[in-house]
């Protein structure tokens, strides 16, 4: 099968930028290579500060790489595209507090010219999206603060699905939720994947979750890729000492 995503020699250096001129450059990611097949779940694992989120932002071109390329379906990704969408960890920060859910969810449709501003179909589409993530349509007229963390994350998912993406990047999408809600959200992600034929890049620091859902795993440490293998291999015979340490800590 053809690769859906190919990452080649991707690096990101955050330039030190200080008034006093003593700031150092930070090497957030160094020479990352991996590929992703369609309909698979690739998990990115690592401690805080290892470059997981930088990788997520690079993949959708929210930030520009210092070197290297991201090739999506044979095209080099130059700017934000509707085919690749992202869901962030903190739904409190990723939903504008002063917009109604209706406007939040419809915005990507306008940006990517999928629907016209006063089109009548929008309402049906938004209700359909909410239904997909297990929410009622009366949510449309409400504001983000009227929802719980789990509900807000559902709204973020609905918004990300609005322009029918092929690849979803999930940047710690359940880490800020209770364990019981995490289980429900995972089930939702798996269900949506099956129904819509999605491919996921699932960024997490929780090995137990990753073991349940991922086809392959990529382990990052201080910006370096230390191991990239199928999930079963990683857990049965981890190669890198850091991988072993991670598995040990999760036991």
């Amino acid at each position: 099968m053809k690769n859906l995503l190919e990452v080649k020699n991707l690096s990101k250096i955050y330039k030190g930028n200080s008034f006093f001129g003593n700031a150092k450059d930070v090497k957030a990611l160094n020479d990352i290579n991996f590929t992703l097949k369609p309909y698979e779940i690739l998990s990115v694992i690592g401690e805080s500060g290892c470059g997981k989120s930088t990788l997520a932002k690079l993949l959708i071109k929210l930030i520009t790489p210092s070197s290297g390329q991201v090739i999506y379906d044979t095209r080099i990704i130059e700017k934000l595209t509707k085919d690749v969408q992202i869901i962030f960890q903190n739904p409190y920060q990723s939903l504008s507090p002063r917009m109604r859910i209706r406007d939040l969810m419809a915005e990507p449709l306008f940006i990517h010219h999928i629907a016209k501003k006063n089109s009548k179909d929008i309402n049906n589409r938004l209700e359909e999206l909410l239904k997909m993530v297990g929410m009622e349509k009366d949510a449309l007229e409400r504001f983000p603060h009227q929802f719980s963390g789990g509900q807000r994350q559902r709204i973020c998912i609905a918004r990300a699905l609005a322009c029918e993406p092929k690849l979803l990047i999930l940047d710690e999408p359940i880490s800020s939720l209770d364990l019981t809600i995490q289980v429900k959200m995972l089930d939702l992600f798996l269900e949506l994947k099956k129904k819509l034929g999605l491919t996921y890049i699932f960024i997490s620091h929780n090995l137990a979750v990753v073991k349940k859902i991922a086809d392959s795993i990529l382990i990052l440490k201080e910006g370096e890729l230390v191991e990239n293998n199928r999930t079963s291999e990683i857990f049965v015979s981890p190669k890198h000492p850091y991988t072993k340490k991670l598995i040990e800590a999760a036991k």
């Binding site: 401690e47 500060g49 209770d178 364990l179 019981t180 289980v183 929780n206 137990a208 800590a249 999760a250």
Partner: protein
């Protein structure tokens, strides 16, 4: 075994204009000396409010409406504000989720620790300095001299949490209430901090009330587990019992979540 903490039928409600919301209802919990108890429940179940009510450091809108609480056999709710002040941070210490919120950004680690030590122990600055290094050693900070000399923002989340634990230990407390102290940390750091807390408990002999939504922590450290739901304790059992034969539906839910994604 002597009881260190006994709470009976504690109720706390929030009063917002005319509305009354019961955050804690008939909360009953007992704790023996040197015991580690995990208080588990989803967010909003009232875990934190119940723990804050014990030393009356509740938010302004919350009021204790009923119940009794005894610490070392003495009634906590009969104590005056001054008496409680002498208890808080001394015999009863708290550790919270976000150390950076509670550490002062403009003072060095050493200054904050020494301030606390001198406040509780009334000792000279030199002795306090010695005690500070001892405490940083205790929480397994390598090179305490250097770490003492820098500011909280220069440390990682895990290191700050260690400093926060050192602060809580400064007064040799009898009871430590740890409210989700590892939730903001990644797995490796979480495992290290949990192991350290358990070691310290063993070494220093305090009792530990550990609040969390994650039952895998209970599995690792707890003697007994109390499960809370919508302000009430719905089940309390020895740790093995909770995992082997959960009775209440909400315990079952938490155990199910643990089985599914809480363990490898």
């Amino acid at each position: 075994m002597k009881k260190i903490l006994e709470v009976k039928n504690l109720s706390v409600e929030f009063r917002i204009e005319e509305k009354r919301i019961e955050a804690v209802r008939n909360f009953t919990l007992d704790m023996e000396e040197k015991e580690i108890i995990v208080l588990a429940g989803e967010s909003g179940s009232g875990k934190t409010i119940a723990s804050l009510a014990l030393t009356r450091i509740l938010p302004a809108l919350a009021k204790i409406t009923a119940g009794e609480a005894y610490f070392e056999g003495k009634d906590l709710f009969l104590k005056t504000e001054i008496e409680l002040q002498a208890l808080r941070g001394a015999k009863i210490s708290y550790i919270f989720q976000e150390p950076l919120v509670y550490l002062n950004p403009v003072f060095k680690i050493s200054e904050q620790l020494k301030e606390t030590i001198i406040y509780h122990d009334k000792i000279s600055p030199e002795e306090a300095n010695k005690r500070m290094l001892e405490l940083l050693n205790l929480v397994k900070i390598i090179d305490p001299e250097t770490v003492g000399n820098i500011y909280p923002h220069q440390l990682s989340g895990g290191m700050n949490q260690r400093v926060f634990i050192a602060l809580a230990l400064a007064s040799n407390p009898k009871l430590i209430i740890a409210d989700e102290p590892t939730t903001a940390l990644d797995v490796i750091t979480e495992a290290q901090i949990l192991e350290m807390l358990k070691d310290l408990q063993n070494k220093l002999g305090f009792s530990l009330l550990f609040i969390t939504h994650n039952l895998s922590i209970a599995k690792k450290i707890a003697n007994r587990v109390f499960i809370m739901h919508r302000g009430e304790i719905v089940e309390s059992e020895k740790t093995a019992e909770i995992f082997n034969s959960p009775k209440h539906i909400h315990t079952k839910e938490l155990v199910y979540a643990y089985e599914k994604i809480g363990k490898l």
